[in-house]
């Protein structure tokens, strides 16, 4: 090890892997992963969220996790976004493409993608 820069590079590379455990998560993205959700295709949605959040460099801010059946099975895959001090947002009939858009516009940009929310179906 010859410089602090080298050390910082390793830290950078590894951080996304351990940050998961810190669970700071100002924003929590919860994917419904009960049987209904999985059958409707929640798995690729979850993977897309995990990947896009990491790509967008939001890993220390956003925590992606799963939950059981939310109770609106006809709208699965359902994804809910919790943010401290704000009302929760429920996205329905999600796909991997829509997930990408939500990460870009909502999680990064801060504006809810209204057309995918439960109030608009």
């Amino acid at each position: 090890m010859k410089s602090l820069a080298e050390l910082a590079a390793i830290k950078e590379k590894m951080q996304s892997k351990v940050v998961l455990r810190e669970g700071s998560g100002e924003i929590r993205v919860v994917v419904g992963m009960a049987t209904c959700g999985i059958a409707a295709g929640a798995r690729p949605v979850l993977s897309a969220f995990v990947e896009e959040v990491s790509n967008a460099g939001l890993a220390d801010k956003v925590m992606v996790t799963q939950t059981g059946c939310i109770g609106v099975c006809q709208y699965e895959p359902v994804v809910e976004v919790f943010e401290a001090g704000k009302e929760k947002v429920t996205y329905v009939k999600m796909t991997a493409e829509k997930a990408k858009e939500v990460v870009e516009k909502h999680l990064k940009g801060g504006s809810v993608v209204e057309e995918y929310t439960i109030t608009n179906v």
Binding site: L20, R21, G25, G68
Partner: protein, 599 residues
Amino acid sequence: MIRSQVLICGGTGCTSSGSKVLIKEFEDRIEENGLSDEIKIVRTGCFGLCALGPVVIVYPDGTFYSRVQKEDVAEIVSEHLLKGRIVDRLVYSDIDEKVKDEIQHVSLNDTNFYKSQKRVALRNCGVINPESIDEYIAMDGYAALGKALTEMTPDEVIQTIKDSGLRGRGGGGFPTGLKWSFTAKNEADQKYVVCNADEGDPGAFMDRSVLEGDPHCIVEAMAICGYATGASEGYIYVRAEYPIAVARLQKAIEDARAYGLLGKNIFDSGFDFDLFVRLGAGAFVCGEETALMTSIEGNRGEPRPRPPYPAVKGLFGKPTTENNVETFANVPQIILHGAEFFNSMGTEKSKGTKVFALGGKIHNTGLVEVPMGTTLREIVENIGGGIPNGKKFKAAQTGGPSGGCIPASMLDIEIDYDNLVSQGAMMGSGGLIVMDEDTCMVDIAKFFLEFTVDESCGKCTPCRVGTKRLYEILEKITSGNGTLEDLDMMEKLCHYIKDNSLCGLGQTAPNPVLSTYKRFREEYVAHVVDKKCPAGVCKKLLTISIEADKCKGCTACARVCPVGAISGTVRNPHSIDPAKCIKCGACMEKCKFGAIVKK
């Protein structure tokens, strides 16, 4: 892409309760469900709740599963990891149902056990994979060494440690910065850094946990100490009974060497430092600093007279800085975040946090780290979860066989070095053994003394002969043959041993006797004058008898008695022959009518 991590404790406690099997089972089940790319299994160090092992934590939600068995794994994988439904029956919780309703799922950090803790020395234990140097670096590992070597002079490092108020965590509480400055002052062609990991107090295991859970922080801290004091070599003296700790330390040293964090010209600063592990054979006296160094040199582990102090003439006759594991574990954080970060916690003269190994009659056996000045009541009742079976708290022993007891009347004492010493106890390495009303204090003193008699190295007479004679007096008292003169002799002998022994072992060996005699004198007197053991522990002072009016003559007791001491006919009251009775208590457990009493 990893979306979830399963942390499985690989500390000694959980390994012995079966965590190795769990890891294999998790790997198989995860593979079976095709989740290998999404879920990562991490074997970590100790989480601290050893009584509930094996412990498994699932992140990012932080769900805390306790006492997980092999059979439970399939359910956790298919329910939690696949479908996101938490397996409630395995979740550990010590919080009220009411509070529980308010939070969606119980995370480790919500439990009473963790909520009041402040983790500095244990910050990475149970969080990172101790065998991965990269994970340590991700948690700011080696950044403190980098900062020290590139931005600070050795004097600045020492000044920061001095300002932080860090004191030796091995027991004595000597200011660490001052210790470093003594070694730094002495000119020599070679100086050493020694880490004392010869943890020998019965019931203490915080050093083991740090070494197992976060070995790199010791490597880093010793390198920082080497830079500050001008040493280029260091030794870690660790007991051979800690095989997991030894293996992880060795891996940590190898990995650090491979990254150039040990060796020549670290961070291009011109500073060279390397580390070596030495195994101890488990002699308690080798935890004493001069005996430890004698042992590293290859000689029989016996203390040497001080002065000269190790800072002048230590290992191989060269100036040496010796610190305990937990002391070192605090160093990187202090360098990284500044003295302020550390001295803002704690009391006026004891700064920072302290790790306690909680054991004995308490719900949550395990490791806790709290700010100095936390009350004993908080540790026992809140974090420790109180005493099992509705029994009453009687006393807590701090400092193991070198320490003393704190009685129930002093539960609100704020724990720091000076408060404990003023009460006749001591911090010691941080073992905290909780005793309930069924504990006989004379018996406890005898237990600790038996340990020191065994472990006395024999070099000096006050300790070798004195502790043995002291033990014999206690033996006499607990067997009902003691006199009041014996009590006076006992006290006198205690002070003699304290004043005349060569090293810390002998100087502190009488502490358990002195402090129990001070706090529970009436129990000693009861043994001597009334020939009774109030707690019902000392067998020779007990008689077990059957109360005729309660006995129905069911013969259950007579059948279970291993020595045939109980006689009687069916449906008639039985009786016990005291000459034959060995007071094992088997009959008491068997009697359904509560007719058998111990006095």
